[in-house]
């Protein structure tokens, strides 16, 4: 049953064991081949061969039997940058490049710890400068005009970056010996984890303004960012708590015996170890969070998905929803899949990556 594809085995032997190993297996192979033969050619025909690619041929899409990728080609800039002033598009483009570079540097572990932190802080400050402008001869661009893929990346990156310190406090609070602090942390974490994200977003978009003094208002983007941050913090806190629980209690006892204070114990002994254990599930949480940013479509922020959805409202492109959402699926997949492969690789690296830990993450 468990024959492996040995290096010496010929293709024929491989096929016999992995495709026609038994009667049910042979039947499954034949069924899959039959279905592929039946469905793949028309699908490829639609998606590639008969598709319309050129953006100036909206009318051609109507007559064609194929997919209308012209839609994407036409709306490309809008999908990336939304309504950011056209002559300033290099700024959000640079922001996307900086973010990707930061992810790359962190993912491949090119620099360590403190330097990485400095790099991130510098990078995020530079991103803020590029997006808002207002100094060094850059024209000021208000939040309302940010959007597209840029906004999706900003929401998820800043959301996690801001939620991280809060989640550490919550995780420590949940393990604290002070009952009141523990109850508050548990209450917060379980409340947020018990309700759907959309209700937290609604809270930020319609309820929060009621709780601010009259005359004070926070714009929609920042409110959504706040909601996403508060939401992410609860989930991150549970991941970090998992990491803290994985550390043998002797570590804490030894640190206590050395005479370290609470914060010294946390910063030098427990937290660094806990975070290292928690990296793969942290990456998974980030993937989930990245996908969740698409929910801002419901409160009407112009992220990657919303720009695509709104483009469909134009008469020229209405009725091409399938192409539009296939493209947006591809966009999200291009970000999430490499990250999920990355976290799987990390899991295999660490000794803790057994089948059981995969179970616990979900």
């Amino acid at each position: 049953m468990n024959l492996t594809n040995g290096r010496g085995a010929s293709g024929c032997q491989w096929a016999r064991s992995r495709l026609f190993g038994s009667w049910p297996s042979s039947l499954a192979t034949l069924a899959i081949v039959y279905l592929a033969a039946r469905w793949l050619p028309p699908l490829l025909n639609w998606a590639l061969l008969r598709a319309v690619w050129s953006p100036d041929r909206a009318a051609a899409c109507r007559d064609s039997q194929g997919a209308c990728w012209a839609f994407v080609a036409d709306k490309f800039r809008f999908i990336l940058f939304a309504t950011f002033p056209a002559d300033q598009h290099w700024r959000p483009a640079l922001v996307i490049a900086i973010l990707l570079a930061l992810y790359g540097v962190s993912g491949f572990q090119l620099v360590r710890r403190l330097r990485l932190l400095c790099l991130w802080l510098g990078g995020l400050a530079l991103i803020g400068l590029l997006m808002w402008g207002g100094i060094f001869g850059l024209t000021y661009v208000e939040n309302e005009r940010w959007g597209g893929l840029t906004l999706t990346l900003l929401l998820s990156t800043f959301g996690i970056a801001l939620a991280f310190p809060l989640s550490i406090l919550l995780a420590l609070g949940r393990r604290s010996e002070m009952p009141l602090l523990r109850w508050f942390s548990i209450g917060y974490i379980e409340l947020i984890r018990g309700v759907p994200l959309i209700s937290v977003l609604f809270m930020a978009s319609v309820m929060l303004p009621l709780f601010l003094p009259q005359g004070v208002s926070i714009d929609k983007l920042l409110r959504a960012q706040l909601a996403m941050t508060l939401f992410a913090a609860a989930y991150l806190a549970e991941v970090i708590r998992g990491g803290l629980q994985a550390i043998p209690p002797q570590q804490e006892e030894a640190a206590l015996a050395t005479g370290l204070s609470y914060w010294q114990r946390v910063c030098y002994v427990t937290l660094p170890q806990a975070l290292r254990v928690a990296i793969p599930p942290l990456v998974n949480t980030f993937i989930g969070f990245f996908k969740d940013t698409s929910l801002v479509v419901i409160i009407g922020l112009f992220d990657f998905l919303t720009t695509i959805k709104v483009s469909l409202n134009e008469p020229a492109w209405s009725g091409f929803g399938i192409e539009a959402y296939l493209f947006s699926a591809l966009g999200y997949f291009a970000f999430c899949y490499p990250m999920s492969r990355y976290s799987q690789a990390l899991e295999r690296q660490t000794a803790h990556g057994t089948g059981l830990s995969a179970l616990r993450e979900n």
Binding site: G21, L191, L210, L295, F333, L359
Partner: protein, 328 residues
């Protein structure tokens, strides 16, 4: 000064500060809210629940609803709609998920690849995008009811949704097939495009996660168990059914339950494609009455109740079935 206090007193002091801080913040926000509500002339409280809703709900199969009914009844219809789609999605996602999990472990290379592609694809695309996609597929590419696709006898797919046969609950049992007449289907049940898209999206998305859990659960069963069962002369099917699956089940049930919970929470994305679930109706209510605080309180209360109820059931299950000194 603080140095001289012992640790206990210091802890008490911190907690008093925390409590005072939380109370102060709470008081500040509530005071603001009271001011704002006064300025906007919105009466706070849940009295609005008994007022006339004045809107129609597209789908109220389980409870008849008209514009003259109250907001309370509208929200109840929404909750029932949430349950209707979530329960159906839970059942189907379990079936598909188990199949996918087993397929990923099968000796057949094609089947394994197919299942892992399914899992990777579905897990790495946001659910909202998938819902929009299915909705677009149904409304844009399916034919009008008159030319409805008929993939199985009694099942019709058209841009008005999916028509399925029903079994009458009254005796004698009879199957009521949908049939096209005039401009639409009569007989059976017609599931709206919104319902169909949401159900399909939720079931397929949740199934990808359940598939991974099932796979990991089966892999976690000790190798010795396989070897012992094989040496007893059990067939592969018996081995799976009698030895492996019962043991895997113990590991699989807790995470699968949390996936069910996610599925119920995710059904709130109904609002994105216009299926009238609890969140979508609460949203309409908020827009009409301005009772934002109460509306969101209702949503959160309902979901929290569901979450807590399911966790309580889960804990009972764990106490009964966990291994001695067991984990999870």
């Amino acid at each position: 000064m603080v140095r001289q206090l012992d640790i206990r007193q210091r802890a008490a002091l911190y907690q008093i500060f925390l409590l005072a801080g939380v109370c102060l913040a709470g008081w500040y926000f509530i005071a603001n809210a009271v001011d704002n509500l006064l300025a906007r002339r919105i009466a706070s409280g849940f009295g609005f629940l008994w007022r006339e809703a004045g809107f129609e709900i597209g789908e109220s199969t389980l409870l008849s609803f008209g514009a003259a009914d109250s907001y309370f009844k509208a929200l109840t219809v929404g909750l029932l709609n949430t349950f209707r789609v979530a329960l159906l999605a839970v059942v189907f996602s379990t079936v598909i998920g188990v199949a996918v999990g087993l397929a990923r472990l099968s000796p057949n290379w094609l089947l394994t690849k197919l299942a892992s592609t399914y899992v990777e694809l579905l897990r790495n695309i946001p659910l909202v995008v998938q819902l929009f996609f299915w909705y677009a597929v149904i409304t844009e590419s399916f034919p009008a009811p008159a030319q409805a696709l008929n993939p199985l006898p009694g099942f019709y797919l058209s841009n008005r949704g999916l028509a399925v046969p029903t079994i009458s609950t009254l005796l004698p049992l009879a199957i009521d097939y949908p049939a096209f007449s005039g401009f639409n289907f009569s007989g059976g049940v017609v599931l709206s495009p919104e319902f169909t898209a949401l159900f399909l999206g939720l079931a397929l998305y949740t199934a990808a996660f359940i598939g991974e859990i099932v796979r990991a659960g089966i892999l976690a069963v000790d190798r010795g168990q396989y070897e012992a069962a094989q040496s007893q002369g059990l067939s592969p099917a018996q081995l799976m059914r009698l030895i492996i699956l019962p043991q895997a089940l113990r590991l699989v049930v807790p995470p699968v339950t949390s996936q069910y919970l996610n599925c119920i929470k995710n059904s709130s994305l109904a609002v994105a494609i216009g299926y009238p679930d609890l969140v979508s109706i609460a949203n309409t209510t908020i827009n009409q009455t301005g009772q934002a605080i109460e509306g969101i309180a209702v949503i959160m209360l309902v979901y929290l109740t569901i979450s807590l109820a399911i966790s309580a059931l889960m804990n009972r299950y764990n106490r009964r079935f966990a291994l001695r000194g067991g984990k999870t």
